[in-house]
């Protein structure tokens, strides 16, 4: 396949951009990719960050739909109380300023994260031992509850009773911890 831009060299960089459900495919050679800013010169670090900025800007535009000429109202000018980063600045750089930014911009994050992480918005991995707090127990509780549901559906009541007892014991642990906090 030849490069879409220079029509000279073979296309070795292949990008798929998903915007508003519409898929655009870009096939260019490395030189053109660099010239177009899809790729940093000395870093293997791809394209992704540059593409991201485009996604965020889209997000900003999208939220102002219907008022193309009006400046963002103070309400829309979200600003992180901890580090002072505004949503506009975040959208421009594609980088958060601090942990608090995730809470500040929370309402706007799901569509962005969904695009970047193939539809996922929630963490399903490791939980740190100390910072994780009760999360370990809560996860365990969720697992027990779905086990219980399954066992009841399968009419395995003896097993279900055991799981129910586990849930009770976990529940009391959670309550205890809650009181300690």
């Amino acid at each position: 396949m030849e490069c879409q831009r220079c029509h000279n060299r073979p296309a070795t960089v292949h990008l798929t951009q998903l915007l508003n459900g519409e898929k655009t495919e870009i096939h260019v050679c490395e030189q053109c990719a660099k010239e177009k800013g899809y790729m940093h010169d000395h870093e293997e670090n791809f394209i992704l960050n540059d593409l991201l900025t485009g996604l965020f800007n889209f997000e900003t535009k999208h939220s102002l739909k219907g008022h193309p000429h009006s400046a963002p109202s103070p309400k829309e000018q979200l600003k992180c109380p901890n580090c002072g980063l505004t949503f506009q600045e975040f959208a421009k750089a594609g980088k958060f300023g601090c942990a608090e930014c995730y809470k500040t911009f929370d309402d706007k994050l799901n569509p962005i994260l969904r695009r970047v992480h193939s539809g996922n918005t929630r963490h399903d991995g490791k939980i740190p031992r100390r910072e994780g707090g009760n999360l370990h127990l809560k996860r365990q509780m969720d697992e027990y509850k779905s086990d219980l549901q399954r066992l009841i559906e399968q009419e395995e009541f003896e097993e279900a009773a055991k799981v129910r007892d586990e849930i009770r014991s976990l529940d009391s642990q959670l309550h205890q911890r809650g009181e300690e906090d």
């Binding site: 870093e43 960050n49 980088k95 918005t121 929630r122 963490h123 490791k126 910072e131």
Partner: protein
Amino acid sequence: MSLQQFMNEAISPWMKEDGPDSDIVLSSRIRLARNFSNTPFPTISSEEQLEKVLTFFNNEFQDQSFRDYKQFEVVKMNELQPIEKRVLVEKHLISPHLTENSAHSASLISQNEQVSIMINEEDHIRIQLYFPGFQLDRALEQASQLDDWLEEKIDYAFDEKRGYLTACPTNVGTGMRASVMMHLPALAMTQQINRMTPAINQLGLVVRGIYGEGSEAVGNIFQISNQITLGKSEEDIVEDLHSVVKQLIDQERRARQALLHRSGIQIEDRIFRSYGVLKHSRIIESKEAAKCLSDLRLGIDLGFIDHVPQTILNELMVLTQPGFLQQYAKETLSPSERDVRRASLIRERLQLENKE
């Protein structure tokens, strides 16, 4: 002195160990991005805040050991010469990004160079751990233990919903990038890798060529890594990667056999020509060197060449890069001077091996 040790040898001690499937998989890497909960990310934090993070590591983890990794050495970026920085990048001990914000950044490097903990890169902490060959599971297990060890002393930025919070939304969640470096000459020669890439992308994984001095992928070395960090557990991500890499290994082996069967004499010719170029040329550019080293490696794997050990190829891959050549020459070299040095270094190294 330890910095000198990191600079002297082209290949890290851990690379000398043999790993599973090491004819095709050069190394497995896990990288974890972590941040302090109460400090702005390095992207916007003040000089004082960056310095505070650095001092913390200097006090708490300098000369500390974790498991088999003996003492960690703090290598501060502002104390390095440009060539030294380049050498550490070529050895993959630090990232190019770390050298850009030199004033308050550093790396804690373990004695065998298997672990490096980058401080004040894009995130406060980037834990990086390598294993020889195809050993992602082991790499993940140890990276996770190392992470627990750090977490005993550090309050991480973590959120129940979003997981480990990072400066860039592409890393949030597990903060983990798992990657595998593969030598895929037969899949590259037959253009099969280009056809497989879109399918691999659909699984949330990325295939990249490794870039040398020039702008094109060289040496038939490809990196496969995960793109998604949210909504999947670390183990699931590694498992996905594992199954794709396993298939690539099988496909590469099959493609090699098919090539041998269909055009054995052409392959043999190509391998020995490349060997000839490496043994006799007086000027060689990095791109040509990488291509010939890839052919020679294939020649060893296919049994055409039996007196050159693979470790020499790993060594030459690193040694023939600009930073190392200049470190070796103890002076700054122009590109054409480097090409001459590169040729003589390769000749010397291959001849040494023939005599042994």
